[in-house]
């Protein structure tokens, strides 16, 4: 992978007028480079375990495993594009799941009516935490890292207060049978993955094609500039953290459906896994740059590594080592690109100069 040939990706570059060079531009975008990495990893495992790894059954398993993280990754991409961070998604997911489970437990029956109420409750809880995050960040001007670190603790703590620390294991059967481990009728695609895919497509369009998306990039690129031209920066930030929260609520109900338990202790590293995926996918922690597509690819790399290591008999702990390396490499690429852009050179010529041992002035 030639990591030097990277060009910053702006909002809505899809549809640039000169289509002749669009393929070359495509190759310079980090999310596509990372897609090549993913393909390479896939091919290596496929070669090592041709009987097991590249089968639909196994791929289906991987897709199912990343679905919930994919839903969280959407919101996280919006947040990180604004140069923010949301550490609270995992706790928010647990809290939303716990409250929804409590409500559904209290309603008693296991039909669709109960399930629908549960879904609304979970999304509402998530939205509430997201709004709280957004208001504290945009209005009270507390840094996102601190606000969401606070709500991370608060949401998890309250979830444990509500349950007394004991997981709730009563989840309506309809949720488990259809969304949880059911397939889309007539196919073998997990329903949970279809839900994630639909959300991903909708919000990819929102981020890259609409005014809301453009303002997300503008706020991340230069908050002050956006404010001066009349963009309502505070409202934009609150909406984005609310979106991230609401999607964590969706994740809460999906998790309940999939695992049949509130899994209070199971989400302690979810936030970091999602952040890592977003960053691996080429979204810059410094804001202004990013794609939903990259995030999806970034989620598959850890999942494929985990799955592949198990199948070929490597200790799965190596997955964490490999993901760590990929993460640092991705941020290194981003830094190089930013430094090159700041110097006003294209990073491509910079890379050549370095390659041939020339010093730029």
């Amino acid at each position: 992978m030639t990591t030097t040939q990277v060009k910053p990706l702006t909002a809505g570059t899809a549809g640039t007028p000169d289509r002749t060079s669009s393929l070359r531009q495509l190759m310079q975008v980090q999310s596509f480079q990372i897609l090549l990495v993913l393909l390479a990893i896939f091919l290596v495992f496929a070669a090592l375990a041709p009987e097991v790894f590249p089968t639909w059954g196994n791929v289906r398993q991987i897709i199912q495993n990343v679905s919930i993280l994919g839903v969280l990754g959407i919101g996280m991409t919006f947040v990180i594009v604004t140069s923010g961070i949301d550490l609270s998604v995992g706790s928010n997911l647990v809290f939303s799941g716990v409250v929804a489970a409590k409500v559904m437990q209290a309603m008693g029956d296991a039909g669709w009516g109960t399930a629908a109420v549960g879904i609304l409750v979970a999304v509402g809880c998530g939205l509430g935490w997201g709004l709280l995050n957004g208001i504290l960040i945009a209005k009270a001007k507390v840094p996102p890292l601190i606000v969401t670190l606070g709500t991370l603790g608060a949401a998890l703590g309250l979830a444990q207060v509500i349950t007394g620390g004991v997981d709730i294991r009563e989840v309506p059967a309809v949720l488990q049978d259809t969304i949880g481990y059911g397939n889309v009728p007539g196919t073998t695609l997990p329903t949970i993955s279809l839900v994630a895919l639909a959300l991903i497509l909708v919000f990819a369009v929102v981020l890259h094609k609409t005014r809301f998306g453009l303002y997300t990039f503008a706020v991340g690129s230069s908050e002050e500039s956006a404010r001066r031209v009349g963009v309502k920066v505070d409202r934009q930030l609150i909406s984005i953290y609310a979106l991230s929260g609401a999607l964590a609520g969706v994740g809460g109900i999906l998790s309940l459906s999939q695992y049949g338990t509130t899994a209070i202790a199971g989400q302690s590293a979810t936030n970091l896994n999602v952040i890592a995926a977003v960053v691996i996918g080429g979204t810059s922690l410094f804001g202004g740059v990013g794609t939903i597509f990259g995030t999806v690819v970034g989620l598959f790399i850890p999942a494929v590594l985990q799955n592949g290591f198990v199948i070929v008999g490597v200790q799965p702990f190596w997955q964490q080592v490999a993901v760590g390396a990929v993460l640092v490499a991705a941020v290194y690429v981003d830094q190089r690109r930013r430094a090159a852009a700041a110097r006003g050179h294209s990073s491509k010529t910079e890379g050549r100069k370095r390659l041939f041992g020339l010093r730029s002035s």
Binding site: F217, S222, R228, V231
Partner: protein, 254 residues
């Protein structure tokens, strides 16, 4: 001039703690004229521009637009009156492209239902941006590259083109030539004249006295948060301006 100024400030006062940044400052600019606003560091130039572009709350004083008193308390409100500002730092979003910066905050939605969903008419925004840059003779090579990767001169051109495109009443240029080379400076001064000839009032803030005398019709001098002198650019000299800025000529001129 006998006409009503397009923008006038009367007795503006604003304190930051114990510092009186504006101390009863007056200011006026007519349509179709270039007014240079000069003063030493800390004289209150930037504060005055902020107040007149809706970026600063005032302690007292009044602002009149075309003779009628207005309450400028947000940049959006100033833009709705056709008052635009090119800030020293240009206020561009570096990751967005030239066309996106040009229309940021004022995007053209797609017609019909798509527009209501938030979809944007990128095609016509690009075409209009291109037309605006061409009109100024600005060399913006790419409309789809992020402006952060462009040269200082190109960024400046985009910021000025944006302000010019939307300014129907007054345009403020805060030290637009400070970071520019000889040719680019000449272009900016040429642009200022062209905008003035369109009938817009131009307020030009600069430390460069030759540029001020070159392009301005009138020069207003601020010192210690107050307008201390107004000169016809044709009838004044660099020495006189510097004298007024530093206070050496106190009382010598009205």
């Amino acid at each position: 001039m006998t006409t009503i100024p397009v923008l006038e400030a009367r007795g503006l006062t604003r304190s930051f703690g114990n510092v009186r940044a504006l101390d009863g400052a007056d200011f006026d600019v007519h349509a179709g004229e270039v007014v240079a606003l000069i003063g030493d560091n800390g004289a209150g130039k930037s504060t005055l521009v902020k107040a007149l572009s809706g970026n600063l709350a005032l302690d007292s004083g009044s602002i009149l637009f075309a003779g009628g008193e207005v309450d400028l308390n947000s940049p959006t409100q100033a833009s709705s009156l056709g008052i635009e500002t090119v800030y020293q730092d240009l206020a561009l979003a570096p990751h967005l492209n030239a066309a996106q910066n040009m229309f940021l905050g004022r995007e053209i939605p797609k017609p019909g239902f798509q527009g209501r969903l938030g979809f944007l008419d990128n095609k016509s925004m690009r075409a209009k941006s291109r037309a605006a840059f061409d009109e100024l003779g600005a060399t913006v090579r790419s409309l789809s590259d992020p402006v952060g990767a462009m040269s200082g001169g190109q960024k400046q051109a985009i910021a000025i083109a944006r302000a010019v495109a939307w300014a129907k009443g007054v345009i403020f240029l805060d030290e637009p030539t400070a970071a520019l080379g000889v040719v680019q400076t000449k272009n900016v001064l040429e642009t200022i004249r062209r905008v003035r000839d369109k009938g817009v009032g131009v307020v030009f803030i600069s430390h460069s006295m030759p540029h001020v005398l070159d392009v301005a019709d009138r020069v207003q001098v601020l010192r210690l948060g107050r307008r201390v002198a107004t000169y016809e650019a044709k009838k004044t000299t660099v020495e006189e301006l510097v004298g007024a800025m530093t206070g050496a000529l106190d009382g010598a001129h009205s």
